[in-house]
Amino acid sequence: MELLFALVIGALTASGVYLLLRARTFPVVMGLTLLSYGVNLFLFATGRLATGEQPVIGTASGYSDPLPQALVLTAIVIGFAMTAFLVVLALRNLADNENDHVDGQHETPSEQTQDQEVTSK
């Protein structure tokens, strides 16, 4: 079970990192989302894997570690806020610069020619 869990985190990280290295905003946002899934699961894993031991007093014979859970709970919500902020940053950039690159480029060659046409008009 532990190995499987570790592989899940590995897969989430690998896919997240790959998407993070793309040149456009949207894949980067998706990559960050995947990466935060991975990180949340990893944080959660520091409390070890327990089955049927939810940390609610009186409902189980033993209790899993509630502290990582509390941390991850807020991390999930903050992660959402961060994703939303990032998406909006990307949208604002799109609105102002008509561009969703994050690799320092501005236009693809085809778009550039279109731009030139616009300016020549």
Binding site: P27, G52, V77, F85, D100
Partner: protein
């Protein structure tokens, strides 16, 4: 208290002085003198302790962990330097009053001068090495500003920059050296360091520490090969040169060597490094001074030479030599400051400093000429003047050095040679300027005597030269004794301050120097011709070239690293993380800890496989953004299931509801963005990225595996035990959030609120026109709000609200709580927006989400501060039980109010963010005139 006051006063004066600038130049000069006068008065009462060889220590804690304290320490050596700084500082203020033109920024001048004075006093009075270093750096900075006082002159700016680069670089070396010393001794307090001399000298790191500290001292005191900055610093106004570059700043390095003399001196390394540097500087400075046509240039190189002399004396390591060094510090400060002032007067009255043009001034300004001639004679070492006495001591000590074989001849020969040069350049200063024919083409003609009181400071100093020269014991005896005793750590050798010690070898050397120098001056044309054969190196050009090369290199580095591509930054970041972790990870390897692996059940394995495949598929097909998003949502759902599977029901519920909101958010964003990503990166680049990603994934897998299989202990037992009795709830996760770690949660919802407001602000006046279709050739549906969805969504709202109320209320005891309930409510409301549209929904929501966020934060804060009224710390909770009809016994905790705040903040933030994006399209913005957002 009086010692910190002495250091602090000039800084206060620096703030106050500009206020007097309105009152004219006299007012500000008087105001600037006040700190020094008070400081002198404050130092006076300590004399009785110091003259007996004692020290005064005023210490206050600052950062005890770092060994840094506000520790001020006064002994004979510190007093001597403090007096030089204060008294010459006062004379400089009088002199500046006449020197500066009315049009100049006098407020800035005096303010900087006082800052410098405070920093200098800080160096000499610090009882803690780290504190001293702070003041040391302050002198570098303030002197930079003073040298570049005439900011319109390029030479001044460049000279200042060079001085800062050299002395600042030395300061860094000094910092390293001091840290080493502190490490060896275990304390940065001066008393401890001075007492630990043997420990330091025996330590393996002694040579390193010594070299670093000497680098600091040599750069500051313009020792060869760092001497080049001092002549270029002569671009400063002359009062500054007289103050900084004769009496104070350049003596800081000398002071440092004298200060640490008991701790560092007396070894072979000290002897060779310090004395040979001093010898080289002494000779080089004296030689170059001969050939300078600029008055201040001559004085600058002569200063370099005299600093070398003092360094050489300190390097000799004998006690008498150290006494001679201290004595020469006093003498050099007096005659050199007066010479600089005289040079400034000449510059002031003739408009030039070129000795080829300034001749025969005796006829025009006999008074100034007399003063300058006395001071120059002292510089040359003419008997009955103070310079003679210390030079004589120097000659005597140079004979005492026990170097092997013929080497023993080297110090006396160099000393005599330097003496000859000194007499020659002093003779040039006197003869060339005041005699030697008539002035040539002076910018101001005829020159005349300066204002009466501009000469006053020069007179005082020249008077001091004569007094010390004729009555040394009375004039400086006690002060010199106290300073020497402090330098040597108590045992002062027998020395005599007589004017003539009888006819002996040193006196012979003096005669040789005197007549040799005069002879040399008379034959100067031959020497000039000889010197002209060598190409002079322009240090400034070399320095500028080096600097511009560094700037170029730095720019290249910056533009290579910071090319505006997030893609590249992320790559570098991730690769460096991998590089840093690869070694420890190799150690861990494929590690299964003591706990071993537990069995896998079929359902979990299936879910895990689906999760892994979906994640990889998201990455693989990311260019089809819509499909990738669907796959991403699968991943999120299974993550929620994972939490549920491994005993975290709260997390599962949170993840589930956040997942819904996130996907809605991304869908909404996709509405405005291109729905596919063009293929831009090359195959090689993608392969590289895949390798990086795989390495990162593998690393995380190994770390997770190692963690999961290790036994561990947690602080959570406390939470489990106290959740019910202390927090009144059985859901430990919720109790941690709203009670144990309530302050964290307050911080989190604040961040949430800020993010939402930030989103609102970013999108407030932005309009984005969505593309007409999804980019793959499909137009958007014309049925914006499908009937079925509308019909289902409306009755869902009250149901969902009821569920969220239930989840909220039970949160303290069963999985649920403010975060989850808030998200459920948000999802229910978002559903209405999706089903019925912005306008329809907004018309029915009569409040602004900003207010909801604000109220939420307010509730949470009030709930937290309620406990303050009862004398408990912030966010202490209380609880009780009431019995409701039908429901039965019900627990009411003050944490519930806090959780209500969380609930509202989450709703407000989530909806404000999503609605802001939804309103982006101009279509919805124009139509929704009655906008509630």
């Amino acid at each position: 208290m009086s010692l910190p006051l002495v250091v602090l006063l000039p800084f206060l004066g620096a703030i106050a002085a500009p206020l007097f600038a309105q009152g004219g130049r006299t007012a500000i000069a008087i105001a600037s003198s006040v700190p020094a006068l008070i400081a002198l008065a404050a130092l006076f009462p300590h004399w009785s302790v110091l003259s007996a060889g004692g020290t005064v220590l005023h210490s206050y804690e600052w950062l005890p962990v770092l060994g840094l304290s506000f520790s001020f320490r006064l002994d004979g050596l510190a007093l001597l330097f403090a007096l030089l700084i204060l008294v010459i500082g006062l004379l400089i203020i009088i002199y500046s009053h006449y020197y500066l033109k009315a049009s100049e920024n006098v407020a800035k001048f005096y303010s900087l001068l006082l800052c410098f004075k405070g920093s200098m006093l800080g160096i000499v009075l610090s009882g803690n090495l780290l504190l001293m270093l702070i003041f040391w750096e302050l002198t570098s900075l303030t002197s930079f500003l003073l040298i570049s006082f005439w900011t319109h002159k390029q030479d001044a700016r460049r000279g200042a920059r060079m001085a800062l680069a050299v002395t600042g670089g030395g300061g860094l070396a000094l910092l390293a050296g001091i840290l080493l010393i502190g490490n060896i001794v275990g304390s940065f307090e001066l008393d401890d360091v001075l007492a630990a001399g043997d420990l330091i000298k025996a330590h393996a790191l002694y040579p390193v520490a010594l070299t670093l500290i000497l680098l600091g001292a040599f750069t500051k005191s313009a020792q060869f090969p760092f001497h080049f900055w001092l002549p270029h610093a002569m671009q400063a106004p002359t009062p500054i040169s007289a103050y900084l570059h004769s009496a104070t700043m350049v003596k800081a390095g000398i002071f440092l060597m004298a200060r640490l003399y008991p701790a560092l001196a007396g070894t072979e390394q000290w002897f060779y490094m310090v004395s040979f540097t001093g010898m080289a500087t002494l000779l080089l400075g004296a030689y170059i001074a001969m050939f300078k046509h600029d008055l201040k240039g001559l004085l600058a190189y002569s200063t370099v030479s005299h600093l070398g002399l003092i360094t050489l004396l300190l390097g000799m390591g004998t006690q008498l030599a150290a006494v001679a060094a201290i004595f020469h510090v006093i003498n050099h400060a007096t005659f050199k400051a007066s010479l600089f002032m005289a040079a400034g007067i000449i510059d002031h009255e003739t408009g030039t400093r070129d000795m080829r043009r300034i001749n025969g001034l005796w006829r025009y300004m006999p008074h100034t000429a007399t003063l300058a001639m006395v001071a120059a004679s002292s510089m040359a070492g003419v008997p009955l003047l103070n310079g003679f006495l210390s030079k004589e001591m120097f000659f005597a000590e140079s004979l005492e050095l026990n170097l092997p074989g013929l080497w023993a001849w080297l110090p006396p020969i160099i000393a005599t040679l330097a003496g000859i040069f000194a007499v020659a350049y002093s003779a040039r200063f006197v003869h060339d300027v005041f005699f030697n024919g008539k002035p040539v083409d002076l910018p101001k003609f005829p020159p005349h005597e300066p204002p009466r009181y501009m000469k006053f400071p020069v007179e005082i100093l020249v008077f001091a030269c004569i007094m010390v020269g004729v009555f040394p014991t009375i004039a400086v005896g006690p002060l010199l004794f106290a300073a020497a005793s402090a330098t040597l750590g108590g045992d002062v050798p027998d020395y005599q301050l007589a004017v003539i010690h009888g006819f002996n070898l040193p006196l012979l050397m003096s005669f040789m120097a005197f007549f040799g120098g005069l002879l040399m001056y008379s034959q100067r044309q031959r020497f000039f011709d000889f010197h002209a054969r060598f190409r002079e190196i322009d240090e400034k050009a070399v320095f500028e070239a080096v600097v511009s090369k560094f700037v170029l290199l730095a720019n290249r580095c910056t533009s290579w690293l910071e090319n505006g591509s997030l893609q590249r930054y992320a790559m570098l970041l991730i690769v460096s993380v991998i590089a840093v972790t690869v070694m420890p990870l190799a150690d861990i390897g494929f590690d299964i800890g003591e706990n071993g692996l537990s069995a896998v059940d079929g359902a979990t394995a299936l879910a895990a496989v689906i999760l892994i495949l979906s994640a990889l598929a998201t990455a693989t097909w990311h260019r089809e953004r819509f499909y990738a998003l669907v796959l991403l949502s699968v991943v999120g759902l299974i993550v929620a299931l994972t939490f549920a599977r491994f005993s975290a029901p709260d997390l599962a519920m949170t993840q589930l509801s956040v997942e819904v909101v996130t996907i809605v958010l991304l869908m909404l964003a996709l509405f405005y963005m291109p729905s596919w990503t063009p293929l831009e990166s090359s195959k090689a680049q993608r392969t590289r990225d895949i390798l990086i990603a795989l390495a990162a994934g593998a690393g995380m897998t190994l770390i997770t595996l190692a963690i999961l299989t290790q036994p561990f202990s947690s602080i959570s037992d406390f939470f489990l035990e106290n959740s019910k009795p202390g927090g009144g709830g059985t859901n430990v996760v919720n109790v941690i959030l709203v009670d144990f770690r309530g302050f964290d949660t307050l911080g989190e919802i604040t961040v949430l609120a800020i993010a939402a407001l930030g989103i609102y602000a970013m999108l407030k006046d932005t309009a984005l026109t969505p593309p007409p279709g999804d980019g793959l050739g499909h137009a958007w549906t014309r049925d914006h709000y499908p009937l079925m969805l509308r019909q289902i969504a409306r009755p869902m709202l009250p149901l969902a609200l009821m569920v969220s109320a239930y989840i909220f209320l039970r949160g303290h005891n069963l999985p649920g709580g403010g975060f989850i309930a808030g998200l459920i409510t948000s999802v229910a409301l978002i559903l209405q927006y999706i089903a019925s549209g912005m306008i329809w929904t907004q018309d029915r929501i009569r409040f602004r989400y900003h207010n909801v966020i604000g109220l939420g934060l307010l509730f949470a804060t009030i709930a937290g501060s309620g406990s303050l009224a009862f004398g408990y710390p912030f966010l202490t909770t209380t609880f009780g039980y009431i019995t409701w009809p039908i429901v039965g016994k019900f627990e009411v905790a003050s944490a519930l109010v806090f959780d209500l705040g969380v609930y509202m903040a989450v709703i407000g933030a989530t909806l404000l963010a999503l609605v802001s994006i939804g309103r982006l399209s101009p279509h919805s913005a124009i139509k929704s005139k009655k906008e509630g957002v």
